[in-house]
Every structure is written in C-alpha cells, then in structure tokens.
Amino acid sequence: MRVEQLYKKNAHSWMVMGRDAERREEVIDTNHYLIQNNGRGLLLDPGGVENFSVVAAEFSKHFELANVEAIFASHQDPDVISSLPLWIQANPNLIVYMPKIWVSFITHFGVKLENIRPIPDEGGVITLGGHDLEVVPAHYLHSSGNLSVYDPQSKIFFSGDIGAALLPDDSTDLFVTDFDEHTQYMEYFHRRWMPSNTAKMRWIAEVRKRDVEMLCPQHGAIFKGKDVARFLSWFENLDLGSAWSNVR
C-alpha cells in the first residue's frame, strides 16, 4: 500500500492511498483520498468492506480519524462505499455526502438517513473546516448519478471513475509517467463502463472551466500538470459505450 501527500499548504492538505499489494486477486485496486483542512477530515471514496482495515490502518498513521467528519461517495458502487457501515460504527456522527439518486440504494449497506446528506444532480458545495470544495456533476460517467470534487486551493480534481486505469499488478507508480503508454490501460474501461458521449462532453467542459493541477481517479494513476489536458483531449475523442461487440 502506498500513501503519499499530494498537496500541503498551511492547514490544508490532500493525501492519497493506493496500490494495495495485499488485496485479494479478484478485488479491483482502488485509490482513496483524505482531505484535511484546519484539523478536520473528509474521506473521498473510502472503499469497500474488503479493504476497510487496510485503509483505516494506513490513514490512522497520518491523521486522527476521529476528526474525519465526513465521507464523500462519488457513486454507489461497492468498491467506492461498501465500507460505510464500518466507518459509521466507529463514528456514529459521520456525515456522508452522496448523489441524491443513490440514497435509497446506498442505505442497503446499512446506513441510516440521519448520516446522509444527499447532493442534488446539479452538484453543490461541501464545506470542510471552513473551506469550500466544489461538487461537480459527472452523471453517466460511469454511474447515472455520479459526482466529482474540485478543490480550488490545491487545484486538485477528484474524478471518481473518470480517468481510471486497470493497471497491471506490478505497476506501483501513483502518477502517470508516460501518457501514451498509459492509455492502453484506460481505453477499455472508459468505452465499456461509460455510456454517454453527451455526458462526457459536458463534464469535460466543466473541468476546462477550472484550473486543474491534478486529476485524481479512483483507480489507476493520477494525472499531473500537462497530462491533465492530455487526458481531457484523449477522453474527448473516445467513443464511449462502444466496447461491447454487439453494439449496433
């Protein structure tokens, strides 16, 4: 498991954890992010029940997890959020931000409504220790109710499954080092899991409105600097919903 600080300035920081070498073979590798601001914490896509103990143990080394006041779920998938009941058992006052349309589905994981703060389709703002984070709609990319998070201070854009790559097991890089080489690990995922080119273009337009230094997906490597723009161009030209051979 690799843990790295992506950004730190004064009392504001971003941390990423990924490349869990201990995970079972059949479990997809996931990235988890912890934003800290003024001593308060927000976990982005904390992961599945399978890797709760690893994620909790690793982040424990770097932050007092009792100060994590909220969790953000980009969408409803089990690799994103099935660990939620365990986090809430440890902190019953935890707030969970999630796409509004998934509330009645995610509650099947055993979460109570009192912990949930639904985010409407148009997005919104999450305030962490006095600092505002923008919640940007990313619907149909891949989930029909999907959200991204942008932090104007660090210029980090958490993109959920957008930009995800199914990397080989021996890949340990947290950042994309060779973009052209990297596309082979992304193409099938985006063409197969994401259905809407219209949604894709809207999301790209939203990202381009912002000053983005890092684009952080939930799987695979992080795009930094010029690779952010490279990814957006590559994604723009990709025909989504086309990876199934029977598509007519």
């Binding site: 143990a57 058992q89 902190n91 019953p92």
Partner: protein, 229 residues
C-alpha cells in the same frame, strides 16, 4: 484459533441456520393447502348436514368444529411464517455483524505496535458497538426460536383434535341412515388430512430441533470468541 478460521466456521454455521430456516419455511408452506382443504371439507360437511335435515343436527355441530380446526391451522401457519421470516433476517444480520467484527479485529492487529495519530478508542468504539449488536441480535434470535417452538406445539394438539373429530364423524355416519354415506366421506377425508398434518408436524419438529441445536452451537462459539478477546 485464527480470526479467519473462526470467521469461516461461523460463516458455515450461519449458512446452516439459514438453510434450516428455509427448509422449515418450505415445510410450513405445505400446510397452506392442507388448511384450505380443511375449509373446503367443512363446506362439504355443512352441505351434507343440510341435506340430511333433522338427522344431520348432531353432524352440523361437528362441521363447526371442523371449520374451527381449519381456522386454527391457518392462524398457526401465519404466525409461524412471520417468526421464521424474522429468524432468517436476524441470522443474516448476525452473519454481517460478525464479519464486521472480524474486520475490526483485523484492523486492531494491523494497528498493534504501529505509531498512529488516531487514538485507540476510536476503533474500539466501533468494535464494541458491533459486539453489543451481536449480543443483542443473538438474544433476539433465541427469543424468536422460543416463540417458534411455542407456535409449532399446538399443531400436535390440532392433529389430535382432528383425529377425534374424524372418529365423531364416523359415529354420526353410522347412526345417520342413508345420509351416513356422505358423513363417512367427510370423516374419511378429515382422517386423511389430519394424518398429513401429523406427518408434517413431526417433520417440522425434527427440523426445529436441528435448527435449535445449530443456533446453540453458533451462539456458544460466538460467545467464546467475543469473550475470549
């Protein structure tokens, strides 16, 4: 014993309980047509008694008892199915809670000896909460099992009652002259139905015994594990 082994063993025990609940539920469902047939039989008995005129007066009283017997069997099935549903839900919830408990155990093992910024109390709270829920669910499960035993006990009595009604019907048939043929047909059908009810009841009692044993075993193992830690 390692946590993983315990989890696997407990997982197997929960699976056994779940399967046994499903078997018992299936057996109980077989009583539904029996109860319906009993109602149909009581309607036939009422018609036979009506056709017999004053000679059917004594038999008419028996038809009311047959109808009551059908109602009692139906009520018993309804109540039992509700309890079985609750038992299956509790067993499945327990399995989930136990799995969560073991995840916390794994987390504590990982944190042992490492320097962390998170206080020990933070995850202790989660683990304790799960342990409390486990105990509370186990208690509810035992209580539901007790209710199930209580609900199934009257079936044996209902079988006896049915057998007695069948004998009474035969006696009435013998003394009812030409109408006795239809009374005897009712009696014979009733004997057949309560016979089936008796067989089902015996099978259910046996399944319930197995279920109780499985639950006790699981609760003992779980108790040992929770208190051992």
């Amino acid at each position: 014993m390692s946590g993983n082994l315990y989890t696997r063993r407990m997982g197997d025990e929960y699976n056994t309980i779940f399967r046994q609940c499903v078997s018992l539920n299936t057996e109980l469902h077989k009583l539904v047509p029996l109860a319906k047939q009993m109602h149909l039989l009581s309607s036939n008995a009422v018609s036979s008694a009506a056709r017999a005129g004053s000679e059917g007066d004594a038999f008419r009283v028996l038809t009311q008892d047959i109808q009551l017997l059908g109602d009692e069997v139906s009520d018993c099935i309804d109540d039992t199915q509700k309890v079985i549903g609750e038992i299956v839900r509790l067993a499945s919830h327990l399995a989930k809670l136990f799995s969560n408990y073991m995840i916390y155990v794994d987390l504590q093992d990982r944190l042992d000896g490492s320097s962390t910024k998170t206080s020990d109390k933070f995850f202790d709270q989660g683990q304790k909460l799960v342990a409390e829920e486990l105990r509370s669910n186990n208690y509810k499960l035992s209580r539901s099992l007790g209710s199930l035993t209580n609900l199934l006990s009257p079936i044996a009595i209902l079988v006896k009652k049915g057998e007695y009604l069948a004998v009474c019907s035969s006696v009435e048939a013998a003394s009812a002259g030409e109408h006795g043929v239809s009374f005897e047909a009712v009696s014979s059908m009733l004997r057949e139905l309560v016979g089936q009810l008796g067989l089902q009841s015996a099978r259910q009692r046996s399944l319930l015994r197995d279920l109780t044993e499985a639950m006790e075993k699981q609760q003992n193992n779980q108790g040992k594990l929770l208190y051992a830690r």
